[in-house]
Amino acid sequence: MSGFDSYRINERARVAGWIVTGTFLILLAAFFRTQVIQHEKFQLKAETNRLRPIQLAPPRGTIFDRQGRVIAENVPGYSVKLLAPSLDSLRAVLSRFARIVPIDSAGTNEILRRYRLARYQPVMVFGDAPFEVISKLEEHRAALPGLVIQSEPKRLYPAGKAVAHLVGYVGEVTDADLENDRFPGADLGSIVGKAGLEQAYDDTLRGSEGVRYIEVNARGRLVREGASSASLPPTPGKPIRTTIDLDLQRFVDSIWPAGVRGGLVAMTPGGEVLALYSAPTYDPNAFVGGIAPALWRELNTDEAHPLLNRVMQTRYPPASPFKLAIAAMALKRGLIGFDTHMPVPCRGGLRMGNRVFRCWKKEGHGSLDLTGAVVASCDVYFYQLGLRLGLQAIVEDGVLMGFRERSGLDLKNEVSPIFPSSVAYFDKLYGPRRWSPAATTLNFSIGQGENTQTLINMVHFYQALAGSGEAVAPYLVRPGGGKPRSTGLNPEQIDGLRHALIAVVERGTAAASRHADLQVAGKTGTAQNSHGEDHGWFIGFAPADQPKIVVGGIMEFAKHGTVVAPYVIAALRRYVLGPDSTHQAPIKLKIIAPEDSAPRTLELDPDSAAMQAKAESLRAGAGINQ
């Protein structure tokens, strides 16, 4: 073959040599670029390839009461997590897991859901596992690839259900929380406060998470736990000191009658909340490490709504305790004095046009002055006082006294009371001329009508009566710093109202609960409840001459305010007299007259014959004496 002479073949060999060398250099250049120039980038990629971060939960700050007693603290606990390469393998491991430690199907679904959110992180199985479970799992570690057991601080509330609504509870941050940035700095899997103090002071208490690395292989299987890379220790949360008196708080829980719904709040006239209790209660410890789904459902579907904080999240008609507000308005405006009598003496009711507004006492109270009317809680007196004030003044002064605002307690989710902003509110609600100003005025005069208040907001009003006529917003940790509310009364007027309230307990509606060793001032109330039995109120303070504590209580379906009074007075005595005080005076649960039931108004609509007939029959049945 002619192409194979030595010149040509040497020529071609040289070209081939160049091509080989050139290719060699190209490859070498590519490796140089990857290995030397881009070394650091790929080094980093290699690290992130094989190292998975695990969150280290920070210990939450301790919550103390006013004397330094612990309300919430941390104890060592264990969390159990699983690192799984795929959903299927997670399922397989979980089924083996379930043979060792039972997990129900709801729990399994929850674990799978979490896994889908963050596939490359170990998924939480148990947030708080008891030691027996841990030792069982350790025994079977070989059968559970990807098992990560971590010692983590866990929340403990030594007082348990006694402080439930006060401290609230903790839980894992939800997707919605993260989306709305409700907890700045929180990440998927962070534990945050969900209610009460835990929620309100979460940013102080939470601290920040640390991180630890584990080494995984290409399939995402755990290879080593103690990976070489440095871990970042968590930053513990800061402690908070509250104004709570844990002793009083526990006492309230211990005396609260079983099965009764309601709330009780105690504070100093300076606004420091001493106790905050709502019933039915729950055990906040059950939420630590993730609440069991069954229990969570139960808490949410229970018709008693145990999670509801009845001190600040439920509105009740303020009823008779509101009469003090009406009295204060009239005194402030100089319309009456303490010895002023009303023109119509109480004969069991007051006729307004073609309606009859009853007094709770159908026999009537006769002619009373202001003090006497407060003591007897006479409706007829306050009807007339209300009319003298006029609806306009009641609404205006009510707004000024803060009945339209939240108390400003430093907890989240306090509901606003319902109170009209002006008389125009009624026009808007019912349409102009479709409501009766007189009937509305009478209703407002005895704390009924379009006026519902939270317990804390009513106590906030009495806080002013117990103090100098002004009241700063109640607080648990830090004062709110807003302008204090003012009743606008002078010291003599405050003193007069206080004496009337003392007389209520001494000889009036709450006389059954009085004790000789401590003078208590207070007011009972019975709130009409269209859904069942009436709710009972009692708000009081002691010692009456130099108040140190104001306590308000409400019990749903209690029928009468007199039922609540003994509990509130027990709390007052406990605080003022100390632990010995309560033994000598056992609480009587029997309901004792005089009653303080707010009467239902008879609706006599002249346009409706049927209504009239109904009213006639009611009137006849009740035997009302006109």
Binding site: S2, F31, A46, N217, A218
Partner: protein, 413 residues
């Protein structure tokens, strides 16, 4: 003595490559998680013995006898390629392809490996029997058929990597036979046209430039027209052809352009391989110590991606040594081909060089993402029985040719 005449350079370099390959293969099996590659280095020792025996047999076979047997070997390998399409099984990454021949469920080898050598022999036999190197398209018809038949059969499996090797063999041997580089360029032009057809602009520039080249070079008229038409046709069929590719083939080509297109699936190999190599740095993470390998992030680390283990554990230095050894092997093979006693031997050795060269360039290139990912093994490094034996066999042939030329006194010219 006879053995004293053995090419010592070739012996030194090939033994060094085999030893290096075994050492790396051992490391590739040292992982923290069970992989298929755990004990393969021991089995590779067995294949090492089989390979030596095969090389010895070939070394003792006269090139004349080989030349006489070539049509039979070629025919047999084509038969096997046809057979494998019917009864073949998949293995490893290419589980769905038909590239393995199995007896009783045991894969015994890939006929495509044998076909590469057979094609080299057949092409060498044909080209050496001609008086002149091919000058026109018509002259290239028979070589085209010789390579085209196994090429198409391999494409049908489908095994893109091996198919590329056949193209490498074709061009290498035509070049060595003395075909003018211009004609080789014209032959390659349809491929360029195909690649540039992804955009009308680039293809437009290409076809204009190509027309000017044709006018300047003045090949045979009919050849020129044929090349021009083929270029146009390629430009037209590019998109339909692309659509006919299997999705995994499309993805491999796409991820070659940008591995991040599909980092979990098709781009996974490319990314993990580069991460392992890049984390090696100058001196590597230490023999058997590479974390990416140990944790099995490297895919196919004992077969197709064994070179990434070199990159991770032995660093740029280890890579340079390995590539240097390959480069030395190629230079030695060129020298042997140059000094061969006859054109058949010379072309055969150069064809073997073509096989090795395409394998090394494609395999090493894909580990650093300068070549698309095709399942193609690295000679002497990747685990694989039939391929290792074929490589040894090729070396045996080269030894024989070198030996012949030395005995014939073609020493240093």
């Amino acid at each position: 003595m006879r053995l004293a005449a053995v090419d010592r350079q070739l012996a030194g370099v090939s033994l060094a490559l085999m030893a290096y390959g075994l050492v790396v293969l051992y490391s590739a099996g040292q992982t923290d998680v069970p992989t298929q590659g755990a004990g393969v280095w021991q089995r590779q020792f067995v294949w090492f013995g089989v390979g030596l025996a095969a090389a010895w047999v070939v070394f003792n076979t006269s090139p004349r006898l080989l030349e006489w047997m070539t049509p039979a070997i070629y025919g047999f390998s084509l038969f096997l390629l046809g057979l494998v399409l019917v009864v073949g099984t998949g293995a490893g990454t290419a589980a769905s392809s038909h590239s393995w021949l199995a007896i009783g469920g045991h894969p015994i080898g890939q006929p495509s490996e044998l076909a590469k050598v057979a094609t080299v022999l057949m092409l060498a036999r044909y080209l050496s029997s001609r008086r002149e190197p091919p000058r026109s398209l018509r002259d290239l018809a028979v070589p085209g058929l010789i390579v085209g038949a196994p090429f198409l059969l391999v494409m049908k499996q489908p095994d893109l990597g091996s198919a590329i090797v056949f193209i490498g063999i074709f061009f290498a041997m035509l070049f060595w036979a003395g075909v003018r580089p211009r004609l080789l360029f014209l032959l390659a032009s349809p491929c360029v046209s195909l690649l540039l057809a992804f955009s009308n602009v680039t293809w437009g520039f290409w076809i204009v430039g190509f027309t000017l080249i044709l006018i300047a070079w003045r090949p045979y008229l009919w050849d020129g027209i044929a090349f021009w038409l083929v270029n146009v046709v390629m430009g037209v069929v590019a998109m339909p052809l692309w659509r006919r590719l299997a999705p995994y083939q499309q993805n491999r080509l796409l991820t070659f352009m940008n591995p991040e297109v599909d980092p979990r699936a098709a781009g996974y190999h490319a990314i993990q391989s580069r991460v392992a190599i890049g984390s090696g740095g100058w001196f590597g993470t230490g023999y058997t110590q590479g974390p990416q390998k140990r944790l099995a992030f490297l895919p196919e680390q004992h077969t197709d991606f064994v070179f990434s283990v070199v990159g991770e554990e032995l660093g740029f230095v280890g890579v340079t040594v390995a590539l240097g050894l390959f480069c030395a092997l190629f230079v030695i093979l060129i020298r042997i081909a140059r000094r061969a006693t006859d054109s058949f031997s010379s072309l055969t050795v150069f064809g073997i060089l073509g096989i090795f060269f395409s394998h090394v360039f494609e395999n090493v290139g894909m580990t650093v993402n300068i070549m698309p990912i095709t399942g193609i093994p690295l000679p002497f490094f990747s685990y694989g029985g039939s391929f290792f034996v074929i490589c040894s066999l090729c070396l045996g042939l080269a030894f024989r040719v070198a030996w012949d030329s030395r005995l014939a006194g073609y020493g240093d010219s």
